[in-house]
Amino acid sequence: MPRFDFVRAHTVDEALQLLADPRYVSRPLAGGTDVLVLVRQEKPSFDRVVDISRIAELKVIERRGAEVIVGAAVTFTEAADSPLLQEAAGCLVEACLAVGGPAIRNAGTLGGNIINAAACADGVPPLVCLDTVARLRSLTAARCLPVSALIQGANRTALQPGELLTHFAFPVPPIGVRQAFTKLGRRNAQAISRLGMAATGRLDAQGRVDYVRLAPGAVMPSPQRLEGVEALLLGQEPTDSLLAAAGQKTAEAMIAATGRRWSTEYKELAIQALAARTLHRALFGT
């Protein structure tokens, strides 16, 4: 007796129909790197998977006006290989390259990464940093939700039954903005992120920060940009001591969000280095 049935959708509309079919409890399947591990460990809560990995609409990477659109079924490899994303979303590209190993990157998708919503998901900090909005569709409605609001906690999202994450959209960053992502794991590949950090930034002609965004990974229950840290930097010359102060404020923001947990003694120190260094790379390129 198979544990679940399999059906493939060829368009988003077809996928939504299949997901809404009341005869089944259906689950979208893209890369499978999370779902197949899940069904190994636990009896599945679904009885059918709907394969969305080949839906052309979900594989787009394109610029539409002032926005970049990335389909939810775009894999880490496809994202990293994309000249458009290399140009417009360098922190996302770096994060994609930091995931797993080549085979995981060929299969895993950005949409799957966000919907699985692991606390340590590497796609989260860059998407949040870029103010990415997730487009969700159901048979009856379509809505947009910032990624930072879509993810509500560890393995919890605001996705409603029957809804499918179809696209990500983020504004093209202003000209001259550099991007960086740093991952800290216990080994150099196939590693769960202990900490992550995404940053974008730009200096004006006087060497002062006129654009900065910062989003951490693996430290917040629900991801967000660290606007307090950004405010500290805006309009200032990013000296080493200011970047160190930014690091400290990052640690404070983390503790404010999570309280002191068993890992805080380590994370509150290490995150300062990650913040300062990622900001430095985003602002100076080194």
Binding site: R3, F4, F6, L36, D51, S53, P102, A189
Partner: protein, 163 residues
């Protein structure tokens, strides 16, 4: 359900339950035991295969997902005469094989890498192997074998290839 795809250069049609992995399909249904099961959670790469020329962990691919695709397993990596191809021969010559359990996956990873990067540095080779664990060799001879193959392939036009 019926799953139709191409396997090692030949058409394949298999009747299988929808909820098994490609790894199970290959090993249990098709009795192709060259692809190995090491961890079943996509960490070790012993189950590596090529799908449409790209490297995948077959333990994380649902069998129906290869419908219409081109799958290559270690059984499909040979020289035209059926013997070891240049990469496999280099694995032997450079001492890359010890217990051998990771080796099919390593060969596939090496082929996948050389398709994407025909002239890789040793660091790039290591990055290409980052999802394939080995407990015996410390990776060094494996890197040597792939590096030697890359050099040879660059100097000899498109001869020593997968059948």
């Amino acid at each position: 359900m019926q799953i139709e795809f191409r396997l090692n250069g030949q058409p394949a049609a298999v009747e299988a339950p929808p909820d098994i992995t490609l790894l199970d399909l290959l090993r249990d249904r098709l009795h192709l035991t060259g692809t190995k099961e090491g961890c079943s959670v996509g960490e070790c790469g012993a189950c590596s295969v090529l799908i449409d020329g790209q490297l995948y962990n077959s333990c994380l691919v649902l069998a129906p997902q290869v419908e219409g695709r081109e799958v290559i397993t270690i059984e499909g990596i040979t020289a035209p005469d059926g013997g070891p191809n240049d990469l496999q021969e280099n694995f032997i010559v450079h001492g890359a094989v010890q217990c051998g359990f990771c080796i099919p996956g390593m060969v596939l990873a090496g082929e996948a890498l050389l398709r994407r990067k025909p002239n890789p540095t040793r660091a790039e080779i290591r990055a290409g192997l980052a999802g394939n664990l080995c407990r015996c060799t410390g990776y060094q001879h494996i890197v040597d074998a792939i590096e030697a193959t890359a050099r040879q392939r660059l100097s000899v036009p498109a001869d020593a290839l997968i059948s």
